[in-house]
């Protein structure tokens, strides 16, 4: 077990390192400089600014220096968006909003999606199954912004007489409803589809035949024997799904004007705010990688067939 965990953690660290390097080079490959949109800066000003923020050195040296700072927990300061405010400070104020919306969204997605998937598998071939299948396929076919804008339009006064929720995000519980609904819809449908497939797969296994031959009742066969096995593959989809939900936050945060990390990330790319891009990328990437790692380890725990001491394969 320990050996496997160490191996996975090392992998995760390596991945994070690669993401950092990749982001750094990509960012520096973008033509233009953060100073260009200042009011007609003179060359001297630009040079001075570059020197001040260390942008005059070769990229590889810059990377080295950056990594050095990073190891000391220093994410540097924002260049443009909020000049000289520490990036870490920006992240720590914005991430809780994104994370809480993401967590609520993925939470309701799991709580609704998995039972719906079971229902569809149990009622396979009936109209319930067909209906759920169309809804869920529709759900994974509608990009987040479509769901978000439809909600925005219908629930905030776009239709006469319907004005249930505030259009703007102000941190009140009511204003959380729409973003969480919009963000969770895709993972809900996705999980439901995956659960259905996994359940059907599981129901067709031979141990289900054994369970039936033992004379177990249907409910016990479905919920004890089929579901537990079906959850194993579903769990593997969960890791990427959490990541996706977090990134889907970009869109939802844009539509509902939520001051979250995703929206800020997009703005920082548009503004070439190098330290902020680096900071948010590293933070989000680390978060996603850790999430994947946790799900991965959880997966090995749920499935007793996998022997962790032997490396997990």
């Amino acid at each position: 077990m320990g050996k496997y965990v160490i191996k996975r953690v090392l992998m995760a660290v390596l991945t994070l390192f690669i993401v950092i390097c990749l982001t750094f080079f990509l960012m520096n490959a973008v033509p233009g400089s953060p100073w260009l949109s200042e009011r007609n800066p003179s060359q001297a000003t630009i040079d001075a600014l570059n020197a001040k923020y260390g942008l005059d050195k070769p990229v590889i040296v810059q990377l080295g220096l950056y990594l050095q700072d990073l190891l000391h927990g220093d994410f540097r300061e924002s260049l443009r968006m909020q000049r000289d405010r520490p990036v870490l400070d920006i992240i720590t104020t914005m991430f809780p909003i994104s994370a809480s919306i993401g967590a609520i969204a993925i939470g309701w997605a799991i709580l609704v999606g998995v039972p719906l998937g079971c229902l569809a598998a149990y009622k396979r071939g009936t109209w319930v199954d067909s209906l759920l299948r169309v809804i869920c396929t529709l759900g994974i076919s509608m990009p987040g912004f479509v769901v978000a804008t439809i909600l925005l339009h219908t629930l905030t006064g776009g239709i006469e007489g319907v004005n249930l929720l505030p259009a703007l995000f102000d941190g009140t519980p009511k204003s959380y409803i729409m973003p969480c609904l919009a963000l969770g819809f895709y993972p809900m449908c996705y999980l439901s589809r995956q659960t259905r497939t996994a359940m059907l797969d599981s129901i067709n296994q031979e141990y289900i035949k054994t369970a039936r031959a033992k004379g177990l009742k249907n409910g016990k066969i479905i919920f004890k024997h089929a579901l537990r096995n079906a959850m194993i593959p579903v769990l593997t989809y969960l890791g990427p799904q959490i990541a996706f939900t977090l990134c889907g936050g970009f869109v939802v945060e844009t539509v509902f004007s939520i001051p979250g990390l995703g929206r800020y990330f997009i703005q920082s790319i548009q503004n070439r705010d190098y330290p902020l891009i680096m900071g948010t990328t590293i933070f989000l990437a680390a978060f996603i990688i850790v999430m994947n790692l946790i799900v991965d380890l959880l997966y090995k725990l749920v499935d007793p067939r996998i022997n962790l001491s032997k490396g997990g394969n």
Binding site: Q205, T210, A213, K214, K217, K224, H225, I232, D303, P304
Partner: protein
């Protein structure tokens, strides 16, 4: 165990027909088979894959998967009509009266639950009054009975931690834990190594003697049949082509298919120069079954009549019958040789 040994008919299957309604058409997997099984009797059902032998067993258990359906005939178990039972009654019957063990012990045990969990569950599914501790005790004694040692530890192990033979033993223990009257074993040794096969067969024979249960032993291996069975039904293309006591089938096969099976079976006592003779050709397409005898195209003795008409059953000995025109021909010739005997035979029949 079943101390009060019952005698008489345990199971009677009459003209059972099972069809699969696939998009391409109706597949008559089982085309009208009949047999009887007494208490404590072991019957082998032999046939190649696709001959409908497993589907027939699933029909008894009520485990046929859609699109399979019983479309005719009757199944009577201990005097009760199985096909007329409600779903709940079927659930109650499975496991308690009839148990079934399957071919592949690797995939038949649920990988995420311990052996003990699955054994206890099988017991408590039919008897809620048994406490968990009591159930565990009985499960352990059952495991001991099927020849598993160190049962305390085994109970807590997961199926993947056991070997194939061990898992099949667990399957058997699970099947017998409610003391069923009938055990259907669907190729229980096919997926195992030869040495393990012998052990499992020995175990089943032993348990059968101890518990006096009826066994339907489905296999494609005649050697296994000789080992354990009292009587044999040979199935081909959804029909029983020959039925009889083990010795009769082995020493006086009355159907060319049975002969073919015997010739293709390796024998320990064979002379070194003897070669195994395979049965030529492939089984018929069950979607489009021919009118005549399904084995005709592969039969070296095929006659013109075989291609047009399904042969009737002919009594060739005591409790030994065969569906083959060759046997009919013999009978006809006997009758021609002794026409006066015919009248007597007819009389006897009418009395019977």
């Amino acid at each position: 165990m079943a101390q009060t040994e019952k005698t008489g008919k345990l199971l009677e299957v009459k003209d059972l027909r099972v069809s699969f309604f696939t998009p391409a058409g109706e597949v008559k997997a089982v085309g009208g088979i009949s047999y009887e099984l007494d208490y404590g009797e072991v019957m082998g059902i032999v046939g190649e894959s696709g001959s409908g032998k497993s589907q027939e067993a699933y029909a008894i258990m009520g485990l046929l998967q859609s699109p399979g359906k019983v479309i005719g005939g009757s199944i009577t178990l201990e005097g009760e009509d199985v096909l007329a039972k409600s779903k709940a009654e079927m659930i109650a019957m499975r496991g308690s009266k009839v148990a079934m063990i399957f071919q592949n012990p690797m995939t038949c045990l649920n990988p995420v639950y311990t052996i003990g969990n699955q054994l206890i569950e099988a017991l408590r599914a039919h008897d809620k009054s048994v406490s968990k501790e009591e159930a565990a005790k009985r499960a352990m004694s059952m495991l001991e009975m099927v020849g598993i040692n160190n049962v305390q530890k085994r109970m807590k192990q997961y199926p993947h931690e056991l070997s194939g033979g061990m898992r099949q033993r667990v399957m058997i223990a699970m099947g017998l834990i409610c003391h069923p009257q009938l055990l259907i074993a669907d190729e229980p040794t096919t997926a195992l190594d030869v040495t393990i096969q012998a052990q499992i067969l020995e175990l089943m024979k032993d348990l059968q003697k101890k518990t006096h249960m009826g066994i339907i032993f489905i296999t494609h291996n005649l050697g296994v049949v000789a080992e354990i069975c009292d009587k044999v039904s040979v199935m081909y293309a959804g029909k029983i082509v020959e039925q009889g006591l083990v010795d009769d089938i082995f020493y006086h096969p009355a159907h060319p298919y049975t002969e073919g099976l015997l010739r293709s079976m390796p024998r320990v006592d064979a002379e070194s120069y003897e070669r195994l003779i395979p049965i030529e050709g492939t089984p018929v397409d069950m979607l489009n079954p021919p009118e005549g005898c399904p084995f005709a195209p592969r039969c070296e003795h095929a006659m013109k009549i075989c291609l047009h008409k399904m042969p009737p059953y002919v009594e060739v000995g005591d409790r030994h019958r065969s569906a083959c025109w060759l046997r009919v021909e013999e009978q006809v010739q006997q009758e021609k040789a002794a026409p006066e005997a015919q009248a007597g035979e007819k009389e006897a029949d009418e009395r019977g």
